[in-house]
């Protein structure tokens, strides 16, 4: 192989390898860091989008010069990104199961703390065309039902609730996350779905939520933890404290979460 060809192979490889870490760092969206200030990166479950954005603003107000940026998404995906070395400071998951890979890899600073709970509700489109008013109605073959896939937290909770009620429901679709499930209801493609209380509140006007007793047996705990390798160091701990504070709890309660009494 001529010398020049060997170089021709080595240079692009070196460039690609050099570019890899830069690509990884760019994936978390959010506000740019304040000039010369510090940045706190929070990975949080998609269902926390509204409430955490608000808590993030409060944090920035309390810590001038600090920018909080969020990466909202499926808890399981976020957990994988953290295990693969994503530079996160705080992780808030929608279930203990999705927090587990991170604690298993000893990547949290201390044990995760449960800060909120979310309950399932039956969501029906405005006008409730199939006249659904109880969980039993979902087992009716004429009622088109959307559930979350059991691999994601809302799907696991739905299975638990339906099992508790002893119902066999055949959904038309198993959606990849709770927002996709909610969209199917909003557009009237399904007659009913099981989503979180917080989603029903966020989509007020477009869907109607119906409470059912078995929801109490499928409550989702949301754990939060500062991460051991947090690039922002002590700021991570302070953000978790804000989430657990009275102010944080009020924000979460307004979004429809059940807040957990202070430990």
């Amino acid at each position: 192989m001529p010398k020049s060809s060997r170089w021709a192979l080595a240079i692009p490889l070196a460039l690609v390898l050099a570019a890899l870490p830069a690509c990884g760092a760019g994936q978390a969206g959010g506000t740019p860091a304040a000039e010369g200030g510090r940045t706190l990166t929070v990975f949080a479950a998609a269902s926390l989008t509204g409430s955490f954005t608000e808590i993030g603003r409060a944090f920035e107000a309390a810590h001038p010069g600090t920018a909080v940026r969020f990466n909202f998404g499926s808890s399981a995906t976020l957990a994988q990104q953290i295990v693969q070395g994503a530079p996160a400071d705080v992780f808030a998951a929608a279930s203990p199961a999705t927090m587990k890979p991170v604690t298993d890899a000893s990547l949290t600073a201390g044990a995760p703390v449960t800060f909120a709970r979310n309950k399932l509700r039956i969501a029906v489109p405005a006008g409730n065309p199939a006249k659904v008013d109880a969980l039993e109605d979902l087992a009716d073959a004429r009622v088109k039902v959307a559930l979350c896939a059991r691999q994601v937290p809302c799907g696991a909770a739905a299975v638990k609730a339906l099992d508790a009620a002893g119902l066999k429901v055949t959904p038309v679709t198993l959606e990849q996350d709770v927002k996709a499930t909610l969209t199917k209801v909003e557009l009237g493609e399904v007659d009913a779905a099981l989503v979180y209380q917080t989603d029903v509140i966020a989509a007020a006007g477009k869907v109607k939520g119906i409470a059912f007793p078995e929801a109490d047996q499928a409550v989702n705990d949301y754990p939060v933890a500062a991460l051991a390798k947090a690039p922002a160091g002590d700021l991570a701990r302070r953000f978790v404290d804000l989430v657990l504070s009275r102010q944080g709890r009020q924000t979460l309660a307004a979004a429809g979460f059940e807040v957990v009494p202070a430990p």
Partner: protein, 271 residues
């Protein structure tokens, strides 16, 4: 990578110039390295067990069937559309050509929502389809085909239109002077002339349909056996079992490479 002594010694081709070779290799590495990443991480020991899972075979079968049907739909509608764009002159042709690329630009999930708004149960056309024919597309295998065809059709149209523009129109004119109607000229002269472009477009279209995720899960939903194609199964496996997701991706990849390679040998003469 290396040029043979024969071509180095002043053949017609000559030595491949480095301003082309370096970016070419960089591009190749960029495309192939993620695949290498999958291969390195693949849990080879569990591969046979995963392959034997009925859900995997079901998803693979559904993927192949729907991608092929979507390609058929695209050929049926896309080739005439490409002909219209390349050969017919009508006002607003530029606008129509730009509109054809909309599914390429639209994030597939948005494409899926758009399909729901038109063909869904409360959609503009969907309402009418349900009340007149009792047809509902969302959450059915036909819905998967619709979503895949929507996303994949531009690949076929653009490729065929390019071939038509490159084809010499004088052959068609000669056919016309010999008394062939425009339809006959299209079937007997134009179509054979642009066949390599049609095949290339169909291959692109099929590959895109096979990998389709966003529009499918949004429009057709996800249910094993009816609408859960391989990419959907991969995505959900990723939530809980990343290793299973890698295996499923490799299966999809291997099957598509084998099919495309064998078709290429059979239908095209180019190396």
């Amino acid at each position: 990578m290396t040029t043979s002594p024969a071509t180095e010694r002043g053949g017609v081709t000559g030595r491949a110039p480095w301003p082309l070779v370096v970016p070419a290799l960089l591009g190749l590495a960029f495309l192939v390295l993620p695949l290498a990443g999958l291969l390195v991480r693949a849990p080879w020991s569990t591969l046979p067990r995963r392959l034997a899972e009925p859900q995997v075979l079901e998803a693979l079968r559904l993927s192949l069937v729907t991608a092929s049907l979507a390609t058929a739909v695209c050929l049926l509608l896309g080739v005439p559309l490409a002909w219209l764009l390349a050969r017919a002159s009508f006002p607003g042709r530029r606008l129509v050509r730009a509109l054809v690329t909309v599914p390429l630009v639209l994030p597939p999930v948005v494409g899926g929502v758009a399909l729901l708004l038109v063909l869904g149960r409360r959609g503009l056309l969907g309402q009418w389809l349900e009340s007149t024919f009792g047809i509902t597309l969302p959450f059915t295998t036909a819905g998967v085909v619709v979503a895949e065809a929507f996303v994949a059709m531009p690949f076929l149209v653009i490729s065929v239109e390019g071939a038509l523009r490159a084809a010499d129109p004088r052959y068609e004119e000669a056919a016309a002077t010999l008394g062939a109607s425009r339809w006959t000229a299209f079937r007997r002269v134009t179509l054979p002339l642009v066949m390599p472009g049609v095949i290339a477009g169909a291959v692109l279209c099929w590959a895109r349909a096979l990998g389709e995720f966003g529009a499918t899960i949004t429009f057709a939903g996800n249910f094993p056996g009816t609408t859960q194609t391989m990419p959907l199964a991969v995505y959900l496996a990723l939530e809980t079992e990343p290793e299973a997701a890698i295996v499923l991706s490799l299966v999809l990849l291997a099957v598509s490479v084998v099919i495309l390679a064998s078709l290429r040998d059979r239908w095209t003469s180019s190396p």
